[in-house]
């Protein structure tokens, strides 16, 4: 039996009358790759922040690797959890080489200047994974949006975490790069036993790669396993009535496209 990596019980966040997250329950085992979908403002990024320990939930508990989150020393936790936030949440004007950005993900990066802060081999390995090793010395400011996103992903991977939390990692990537990214993430789960929770908007793009999809709109309306069709009423509960639902053959989870004519 695989070890439990994430265990969330009755997690709520925000005001009692209109919580951002409401009674979330979720269990994930090692090597599981889960996608989270939901409309804007559904609480997807907030859920990732709660799992990363960045916000304090109003009630409920988060356990990582069988231990409550608040019992972890920050240092031990960060060694095991990788985090990639949304693309726009970084300062674009700082002069930095690509490898410096990746180094920021190393466990000892913020150490005093007299201490070794990173391992160059680890940094290059992470850049290899996202196919950016040849641009290691390039100025980060001069990269395209897609290249920046891949470098930021390398920063999340550099410590080889056991749990990876990704908020829209495919933003700014073209469809070919998106597929390669999802294939890389799939292999990290299958080959290295990494557990990944990934927020995405385009369910059609991820169905072939993920083990399950959680449909979130303040609460988890449905947690569909690979091969399972998401019922129509779940789509409507998340996105309202003006969506058109079509069958999708890639992973048989389901697919939704908001369309004008369906209104």
């Amino acid at each position: 039996m695989s070890a439990q990596v994430v265990s969330i019980s009755d997690l709520s966040f925000g005001p009692e009358k209109s919580p951002v997250l409401d009674q979330i329950n979720l269990q994930l085992e090692a090597g599981h790759f889960m996608g989270i979908i939901g409309p804007n403002g559904a609480g997807k990024s907030t859920l990732l922040a709660a799992i990363a320990g960045l916000i304090q939930p109003s009630c409920g508990t988060v356990e990582l690797f069988g231990k409550p989150l608040n019992q972890f020393s920050r240092h031990k936790l960060l060694k095991q959890v990788g985090f990639l936030n949304q693309l726009h949440e970084h300062e674009p004007h700082l002069p930095l080489r690509v490898r410096d950005v990746v180094a920021m993900g190393s466990a000892g990066y913020a150490a005093p200047l007299w201490k070794q802060s990173n391992n160059r081999a680890e940094i290059m390995a992470a850049l290899e994974q996202v196919e950016m090793a040849d641009l290691a010395e390039r100025d980060f400011r001069h990269l395209s949006g897609g290249q920046r996103q891949r470098v930021r992903l390398a920063r999340a991977l550099v410590r080889q975490p056991r749990l990876l939390l990704l908020d829209e990692p495919s933003a700014a990537l073209d469809s070919k790069r998106q597929d390669r990214l999802y294939a890389l993430l799939r292999s990290l789960c299958s080959d290295q036993g990494m557990t990944i929770i990934m927020v995405e908007h385009d369910i059609a793009a991820i169905t072939a790669y993920v083990d399950s999809v959680a449909c979130l709109n303040r609460r988890i309306h449905h947690h569909a396993m690979q091969g399972e069709q998401i019922p129509d009423d779940i789509w409507h509960a998340m996105y309202g009535d003006h969506i058109h639902i079509v069958a999708h053959d890639a992973g048989c989870i389901g697919c939704a496209h908001p369309t004008e004519e369906a209104q």
Binding site: A52, G53, L54, R74, H75, L77, L78, V81, F83, L84, N85, E89, H90, E91, L94, P95, L96, R97, D100, V101, M104, G105, Y109, A110, A111, P112, L113, W114, S117, D139, R155, A156, L165
Partner: protein, 279 residues
């Protein structure tokens, strides 16, 4: 050459050179963080607000620099704790405190007529009149600031790039920001002796701004910033000695010239690179 040898032989310049270079190194180091965290307006606010500390020192017959240092530190920490959730933004808070503290300083200094106050020196700096006790105080504060940079620079750099991921990586972001504000406040007070309340921001922004065109890493930026700052300070002091100009203003003018040269050179380099790529 003769002028240079006269400069180095001058007793006043010999005494002011060491503190000026110390201030130059310290402010250049912190200026990297000031630019990275977009704290330029904070330095304007704290430097002007430190007039309240100077006014307090004059009124209560307290030592000028230590009193100004403590006041600046308190004002900076107050700025760091402005209630942003209630809609008061950083710049509005700085604007209010800056005006209020400066008004208090002006009132205090104007009522303390029995003391002789070098208002021109306070506003525009006068490194030539530094006393040995002030030098000791500057050295102490300088060591504290450089020590903080050595210990915290990477963390501050990481927070400047992406505070959310820095927090996820285990950095205590609010505490480190508070420390950054505090150390910036201390640096501002150091600058006041050389450049005065009005020109302090020049010393805290220009060195890193000159380096920004060329540095590609924290270490590179830091080194270049110090080199530009030392060059500007030395050139400024020599020119001020030669022409009998105010030292602080001349140093800031020299740094402005270096910035324009650096900017022009970076623009030229970019043009040449583009030209080569087109070929």
């Amino acid at each position: 050459m003769e002028m240079l040898s006269q400069f180095f032989a001058s007793h006043v310049m010999q005494e002011s050179l060491a503190p000026a270079l110390l201030i130059s190194v310290v402010t250049a180091s912190m200026s990297v963080m000031v630019l990275a965290h977009r704290l330029s307006f904070l330095t304007v606010g704290v430097s002007h607000a430190s007039l309240a500390g100077l006014g307090l020192a004059v009124t209560l017959s307290l030592p000028l620099l230590p009193t100004a240092t403590v006041t600046a530190l308190l004002i900076t920490l107050l700025l760091a704790n402005i209630p942003k959730k209630q809609g008061i933004t950083d710049d509005a808070g700085i604007g209010m405190l800056f005006a209020g503290s400066m008004a208090l300083g002006v009132v205090l200094i104007s009522t303390a007529s029995r003391y002789e106050v070098d208002l021109f020196g306070l506003l525009f700096g006068n490194i030539l009149t530094i006393s040995s006790s002030e030098m000791q105080w500057l050295s102490l504060v300088g060591v504290l600031i450089l020590g903080s940079m050595v210990v915290l620079a990477r963390g501050w750099w990481s927070i400047a790039f992406d505070p959310t991921t820095a927090a996820a990586a285990g950095l205590p972001v609010p505490t480190m920001r508070m420390l950054l504000y505090g150390v910036t406040g201390l640096t501002v007070v150091m600058c006041v002796k050389l450049a005065g309340i009005v020109l302090t921001t020049g010393l805290l922004v220009l060195p890193a701004a000159c380096a920004w065109f060329w540095g590609r890493s924290l270490a590179g930026l830091w080194s270049l910033s110090v080199i530009f700052s030392l060059t500007g300070t030395l050139a400024g002091l020599v020119i001020s000695y030669q022409n009998d100009w105010p030292s602080g203003a001349t140093v800031v003018m020299a740094l402005c010239c270096i910035f324009i040269i650096s900017w022009g050179a970076a623009w030229l380099k970019q043009r040449v690179q583009k030209h080569k790529e087109q070929e």
